[in-house]
């Protein structure tokens, strides 16, 4: 402590105080203030530019997202339309198939019933003709003299050839 106090020079202390005060004042006025101000300005500028770039990037991203969304919507719409068309087509095909089937069935039924009735008519016709023929044959047989077997057979043949099975 004694050594310290002995080394301490009050004169130097006072001179140093004055010089340091002056130095601080001058440095603050002529150096630090302008330097720090322009550094702050520059930093603010950089920050602003960065923020602007950031904003531009987010805008761009938003735009891209929008585009994507629209594209997706369009695609979905197209798909929907295609699906719908396909459904319609399938439905139409199924409908027409059904219609055709119904129609065909109907026609088939008609044809069957027609055939049936024709058949019935034909059978009735045959029946009546057979009856008439048998009557005529019997008539002729009765009219002719059935002396011999040959004559009888000839007669049957000629009669049979007369019958035109239509």
């Amino acid at each position: 402590m004694e050594v310290l106090l002995n080394d301490f020079s009050p004169g130097l202390f006072i001179v140093q105080t004055i010089l340091l005060l002056g130095l601080i004042f001058l440095m603050v006025k002529f150096a630090w203030k302008p330097i720090l101000n322009s550094l702050n300005e520059r930093e603010a500028g950089i920050e602003e530019a960065l923020a602007a770039a950031d904003k531009a990037r987010t805008d761009m991203q938003n735009l891209q997202a929008d585009n994507e969304k629209m594209l997706q919507e369009a695609r979905a719409e197209r798909e929907g339309m295609l699906k719908e068309a396909r459904e319609i087509k399938e439905k139409m095909i199924a409908d027409s198939k059904e219609q055709a089937k119904i129609e065909g069935d109907k026609m088939l039924k008609q044809a069957q019933s027609a055939i049936e009735s024709e058949k019935k008519a034909a059978v009735a016709d045959i029946k009546s003709q057979v009856a008439e023929l048998s009557v005529a044959i019997a008539e002729k047989v009765l009219k002719e003299d059935l002396s011999s077997n040959d004559k009888q057979l000839k007669l049957v043949d000629s009669m049979l050839s007369d019958i035109k099975l239509n």
Binding site: Q16, L20, K33, S38
Partner: protein, 392 residues
Amino acid sequence: MMQVSNTIKTLLQLLILCFSLQSFAVSDTVPEGAVSSKEQVDEYILHHLKDSHDFHLFSYTADSGERKHVGFPLPVILWSSNGLATFMSSEFHHDDNGRVIVEKNGSKFVKLHSKIYELDAGASSVNFDEEHHATNAHKVLDFSITKSVVGVLLVGLLMLLAFSSLAKQYGKKKIPTGFGRVLEPLVLYVRDEIARPNIGEKHYRKFTGYLLTVFFFIWVLNLLGLTPFGFNVTGQIAVTACLAIFTLIIYTVSGNKDYWMHILWMPGVPVFVKPILAIIELAGAFIIKPFSLLVRLFANISAGHIVVMSLIAIMFTLKESLGVAGATGLSLVLSFFITLIEVLVAFLQAYIFTALSALFIGMAVAEHDHDHEHDDSGHEVADTEDVRADFI
């Protein structure tokens, strides 16, 4: 840039002028000043650590056996009992033992161990007691332009020139060129690594100017101390005391309500502890903090100078045991590496002084928006927020 190169030219001219000013050679009866023995080395180092009244560059022994000193004298300005006295330091003829008496304004002055004493009225020569203290002389207020003052002026001038040219550069362009490109990161370093984290985002702007000035002042002076010109400005206790007291004044003046509250009437402790804590806190704020600041810088720089000079002195002190080549080689290697470390210390001490100043200022202006926990003995428990605020 033009300005800087002009400055450098002027400085060089000044330097050449210094060397040509080797007019005041003195013939001593004893070839004093030649350094070869251990005692002389000790003496020389102690002498170097003190401030000096003339700018001494080197000494040599002329062919005639005379000891010649090369350097230039500096003005001595004294406030004696008979008023102001001014003369050039050459009038002491390099005497440092109180033998040469200079009479000015009716007062008699002698230089004794780098200090100027005024002889008491009626005395015609200095009497010494057994411890070599003067008995019939007293110290005077010494405003001389000593070597340290020259160093301070030189550094101040350099700082002003360098940084005002940097400031001017910003007027023209956004990014500085040349030497400014070296200075700008340093300014940013002090602002972003020292001022901002230690003081806090809110208040740091006010104190950045002071911190920057002090940082560069100490750093450049520390580095100047490593040059062969032999400045030892930051190893002068008056200089470091001045710096520490500036910091003390700043944090005392800018202390807010919370700061004074924590010093004078610590919240959250029993009433009977409060006065005791107040005494401790007051001693901490007004004595311990500035004292540690001033002593740390002073001691580190002085110790560095002592170590470097002692290692250089190995050349003489170990000449007998190691031979001339061995002693010189050892001395050169050791002093080279220690000087490298001293370059680091020069920066570190500037950093620490500035950082601690910023920390103390930050403590004084901190706003306590959260409650502190206090432990049983009444000490504040620093919560994580405090620690972070202090050390980020």
